[in-house]
């Protein structure tokens, strides 16, 4: 497949506007501005583009809601708070292909009649901040941002807003709170951001990878775009693979590539020819899969049929040297640390789960602890403001579902055989 999102990134100057334009960049923006906004949205609808942040929500639907709201100004926010452990797919776009994102945002801004945009960038990406700010400055100078884009009187202003180390700000309403200068605590919905978002105005929040699809989508048109990858949720997808594979890294492949092929063909199989033990397919919050369940198409529609989710497309591969109780414990330590504290089931539940997993891993587990973990998880799942609590609960449930004997062995033998 021709590279769309990671196009030209081997070029050491790929972040420069001149190089981007030489490779065909900033041709889709004038094309989009030559259309009427609702026709741009129609192309996105035909393309079947779904949000790449994890939820897979149809982009055109979100845009239609925000467009229909009569309040102005409208805002377009780019979620660049890539924090889901295992995920590093947006970083190459931000650092190496910033103009692709900026062009995508200018096109989206035009489609939505949004005149202001912010890139909410995680604090842990300091290099990306400088690169984006330089790229934005270049785009203003060339007239691709500002009050008179492409000489057509179209207005779109863009700025970077740096986060400060809070996973929860990847949740769109927490992101909005944080941009407004508050703690990143999710809002209850409705009202949805498309009607009452940042500064109480209609707001669209889209992921970096999602917005970066726009220049190509407009270039080839929705119908041609829809021919790439899975028919139900087409397009190119960046899979990022970490852990025990021969060639970890980012792979841009058609949406719906088989997970087994990603691991064994693209990444060269398990490191050192060792035995595969488990795969987390879409970032730490997505349900873990045992080796006999990885023959599945990695997209938003097919992964749920196999008991997991596409999430951010962050594949974490673990060989037989890994203790899964320890991984589960580390995951819950993360969720406890990142819980915003707003709602009780998540704030308390993540801590309880972490404590119990910690004692099992340390050889101090008690009989009944596995059922206790399941009981607590059941009281968190579906009872929280936002998906952080669900993620934490479902991690515990799925590790136990597929690897219960390993947990019970820890409790029975009062030790961890794998990590000693």
């Amino acid at each position: 497949m021709e590279k769309v999102l990671l196009k030209n990134i081997e070029n050491p100057n790929s972040a420069d506007i001149g190089e981007y334009m030489k490779a065909g960049g900033y041709r889709s923006l004038p094309k989009a501005i030559g259309m009427v906004p609702k026709d741009v949205i129609e192309e996105v609808k035909k393309a079947g583009l779904r949000g790449r942040g994890g939820a897979g929500f149809p982009v055109a639907m979100k845009w239609t809601f925000a467009s229909a709201d009569p309040k102005f100004p409208k805002y377009l926010l780019c979620n660049a708070d890539e924090g889901e452990p295992g995920t590093f797919k947006d970083r190459p776009i931000l650092e190496k292909n910033p103009h692709l994102l900026i062009e995508g945002m200018a096109i989206s801004g035009f489609a939505l009649s949004a005149e202001y945009g912010y890139i909410y960038l995680r604090g842990e990406y300091p290099a990306a901040k400088h690169i984006l700010e330089k790229a934005i400055k270049q785009a203003y100078e060339k007239g691709f941002l500002g009050d008179n884009i492409a000489g057509k009187g179209v207005k779109f202003h863009l700025a970077v807003h740096q986060g400060a180390g809070a996973y929860i700000c990847g949740e769109e309403t927490a992101l909005i709170e944080s941009l407004e200068g508050d703690k990143g605590q999710p809002r209850i919905k409705p009202p949805f951001p498309v009607n009452v978002g940042v500064f109480a105005r209609p707001t669209v929040v889209n992921n970096v990878e999602t917005l970066s699809n726009l220049p190509y989508l407009i270039e080839v048109g929705g119908e041609a775009y829809a021919k790439i990858g899975s028919p139900e949720c087409p397009g190119p997808k960046i899979y990022c693979v970490s852990g025990h594979v021969e060639r970890p890294g980012v792979y841009e492949l058609p949406m719906g590539t088989n997970l087994k092929d990603i691991i064994y063909t693209h990444c060269g199989g398990i490191k050192g020819g060792r035995k595969l033990k488990a795969v987390i397919p879409g970032g730490i919050s997505t349900p873990v899969l045992p080796p006999d369940k990885i023959d599945c198409l990695m997209d938003f529609v097919n992964m749920p049929k196999h008991g997991s989710m596409l999430g951010s497309g962050a594949v974490i591969v673990m060989d037989d040297t890994v203790c899964l109780v320890k991984v589960c414990y580390r995951a819950l330590k993360f969720f406890e640390h990142e819980s915003c504290g707003k709602c009780t089931p998540c704030r308390e539940g993540t801590g309880w789960l972490r404590k119990i997993l910690g004692r099992i891993e340390n050889g101090e587990g008690m009989e009944g602890d596995v059922d206790l973990l399941l009981s607590i998880s059941g009281n968190v799942l579906g009872k929280t403001f936002c998906p952080l609590g669900d993620g934490a609960a479902s991690v515990v449930q799925n590790f136990i579902k597929h690897f219960r004997p390993e947990f019970e062995e820890h409790i029975r033998n009062k030790t961890c055989k794998v990590s000693g």
Partner: protein
Amino acid sequence: MFSENAKKELEEIRLKYPNARAALLPALYVAQREFGWLSPDAYETVSDLLGVPKAIARGVGTFYAMYKHKPAGRNMVQLCTNVSCMILGAERLVDFLKGKYGLEPGGTTQDGRFSLVIMECIGACGTAPAMLVNDDFYEDLTEKRIEEILERYK
């Protein structure tokens, strides 16, 4: 008090937003750079310049992991130990920093050269284990590589 440059920077930041409150997070970054950490004086300055109540500024600032609330060393070693880094040996690196430099998570070396912060995924999972030293990424770490890298930070 902010330096004249910092005041100017804050004025420019303020223009990016429709109200002063939204400039709070970037203002706290400026304050952290100016004061070295978010001391009571730093909060007071930000609060006065933006017209945001002190209690609000402090409440917001303490929510986020990357704002420092005690004086830190000259160089921030930010080591990831989340799952992708953990399964490739990040914990050994934590032990190494403890043994070699007396550097504990959340602590600072006696000479004030390094502070260590344990990070929750820094987006370098494909080249794990990884860390940031100040603003620079370092990947594919081993004990030997960490030692070589830290030599460059005085």
